[in-house]
């Protein structure tokens, strides 16, 4: 089994899907000749030609909007937005067209498409190369939202996203692109969208997280284990739909919930999970749910490291839950 990093796993998934299905096309800024600024599409234009791997003008509205039309007409487009921060010029197409086409047309037209984008901070990219806008997408009915954290998941989930009959926003934490490596089967496999992964079993508290923050969460869980505190760690993988049964079962067992994510706190995915768990499991809980998140400020370059959830912050929150 080859050992791949996240970006290689994505490249492999795209390659396999393009080979399998002629309808799969890629479009975006710099995806062709350059192979994407992070090289996710490297080599694909040479293999499948410029009609199927298309360098587009610098226009996210055109990229996402054209993908809607391609999808409605029968193709399976995979659009790349160079950074999640640059989805905003294309947001009208994503929100007004892609997300609601099925609903608006009573199911007559659909937009089976994927919009891939690098997300999150930790790369000294400053404000516009570091944001985590998943809550905007999750707040938009009609979209599915996937945020991966491992190469294995990235391959299986991207392939599933391409075959999904709905528009899927596929978010890739850029700080993990080359930081995580693992064995990724060269054979075909799919992972269901909407299913979380339990990264670590434990009885004392449940930590729910996803994307880039998984790194700090797993480190914190190890430090907890060293002092005899067993955290159950859940990687959501899909933030919409999110895997409520897995999260509820875990919190029912541990009685404590900590949600960790680097997006700003207010009206976030973390808030949604905390609220849902409080609603459903209030009388079984030993402490109120807590969130460790980014601050409610725009993402600051100079305070990059302080902005994102740190291991210390996660440990402090866990202590608060235990001591409650």
């Amino acid at each position: 089994m080859p050992t791949l990093n996240l970006i290689q796993a994505i490249n492999l998934a795209l390659d396999e899907e393009m080979r399998r299905d002629e309808r799969v096309v890629i479009l975006g800024e710099d995806v062709g000749r350059r192979g994407g600024v992070f090289l996710a599409t490297e080599g694909l234009q040479a293999k499948y030609g410029p009609d199927r791997v298309m360098d587009t003008p610098l226009a996210e509205a055109a990229i996402i909007g054209a993908a809607v039309g391609m999808a409605a007409h029968g193709l399976r487009p995979v659009a790349e937005i160079q950074f999640a921060d640059y989805v905003f010029p294309g947001i009208d197409q994503l929100f007004s067209q892609a997300a609601k086409l099925r609903y608006r047309s009573g199911g007559q037209f659909t937009a089976p498409m994927v919009v891939r984008m690098p997300t999150g901070g930790g790369v000294k990219g400053g404000h516009h190369h570091s944001q985590s806008p998943e809550a905007h997408f999750a707040h938009t009915p009609g979209l599915k939202v996937v945020v991966v954290s491992t190469p294995y998941d990235a391959k299986g989930l991207l392939k599933a996203a391409i075959r999904d009959d709905d528009p899927v926003v596929f978010m890739e934490p850029k700080r993990l692109y080359r930081a995580v490596k693992e064995e990724v089967p060269a054979e075909e496999y799919l992972l269901p969208i909407g299913q979380a992964a339990i990264r670590r079993e434990g009885r004392d508290l449940t930590i729910v997280s996803y994307g880039g923050s998984m790194v700090e969460v797993l480190k914190a869980a190890e430090e907890m284990a060293a002092v005899g505190l067993e955290a159950e760690v859940i990687d959501l993988r899909s933030v919409l739909p999110w895997d409520k049964p897995t999260v509820l079962a875990s919190v029912a067992k541990t009685g404590r919930l900590l949600v960790v994510a680097e997006a700003p706190r207010t009206a976030s995915v973390a808030s949604e999970i905390a609220a849902t768990v409080a609603e459903e499991l209030f009388d079984q809980m030993l402490a109120p749910p807590l969130r460790v998140t980014g601050f409610d400020t725009p993402y600051p370059l100079a305070q990059d490291k302080l902005y994102m959830p740190t291991v210390t912050r996660i440990l402090n929150a866990a202590k608060r839950l235990i001591d409650y």
Binding site: D55, G126, H129, T297
Partner: protein
Amino acid sequence: MVQEKLAFEPFSLEPIRLIDPEGRWIAPFPHGLPEQTLRQFYRDMLAARLLDEKLVILLRTGKTSFIAPHAGHEAAQVGVAHALRRGHDWLFPYYRDLGLVLALGVPLVEIFGQTLGNAKDPAKGRQMPSHPGSRPLNVFTVCSAIASHIPPATGAALSMKLCRTGQVAVCTFGDGATSEGDWHAGVNFAAVQKAPVVFVCENNRYAISVNIALQTASPNIAIKAQAYGMPGYYVDGLDVLASYFVVRHAVEQARAGAGPSLVELVVHRFGPHSSADDDSRYKSQEEREAERQQDPLLRYQRFLEREGLWDARWASSLRAELLGELEAALQTALAAGEPEPLQMFDDVYATRPWHLEEQRRLLAEELKP
């Protein structure tokens, strides 16, 4: 009379050029510029080039995380800087404009402070390097999101018109920016309202790796102006005097109430798109070498030589002087240190709401030794 001669033909098929590659003045009018101004243009171009080289060193030594090289754009940028009234008109620049904002008077210490994201950055280290801005000089803070500053430039110009301030807004961007919806929306609105704004495209024919042929099917950028009902000027941006005179013409037209125009300055980008890019992936060695042969500094040097205004001793003492200024500013900036961490919570709103107050308190607690 002179004014008439200085007027330029919009939508020309050949780029407007006043100095040929051998440095000969080929315009149908005398340039009429004093020696001091001609020398200042050279000084500003050289300062821009040396700044670019300094930034490469900062990157290589790990002192900064990002640069967007502007070498090749110097003639265009210096031309633009001198065409507007410093501190009176507004500039809406983009991330490749460090040479332009330097020529406009943004202090080197601020440019380095912004590059280092430290306490000398007037913007407090929020954005990545190459994102300057200066309230005192009316330089609108650069935003990474391509073309997002076009509608604001139109809006500022409309305000200038409504308030009758006699100011003009000058807005720069690359060729890639002309594909964004924001570009079309902003340019169209400005034309309809005859807003006093000049749109300047520094066209280096690449948006990262994407060649202009995949960016637009128009024969050039300037011609797009036709569709919006305003003049478009197609200019050799490696010629500092052509850049200067054409942009000045457009600025004065706007100031006189004639409305906006689009100026395309065709340049080369000698370096990669940014420090995160490898241009050998999409530009051949030959192409890159051929571009380097057409150095805007060299062309202008030849012109000055013909005017009897350039000699090697002057140039080398100028270089030494500029290097000294650069180094001194860099040392001052380097000494400034990190911005204070709790500044993270400033400027989100005019006054901090309770939730930010709360988050600030938590971090302050955490940072206690």
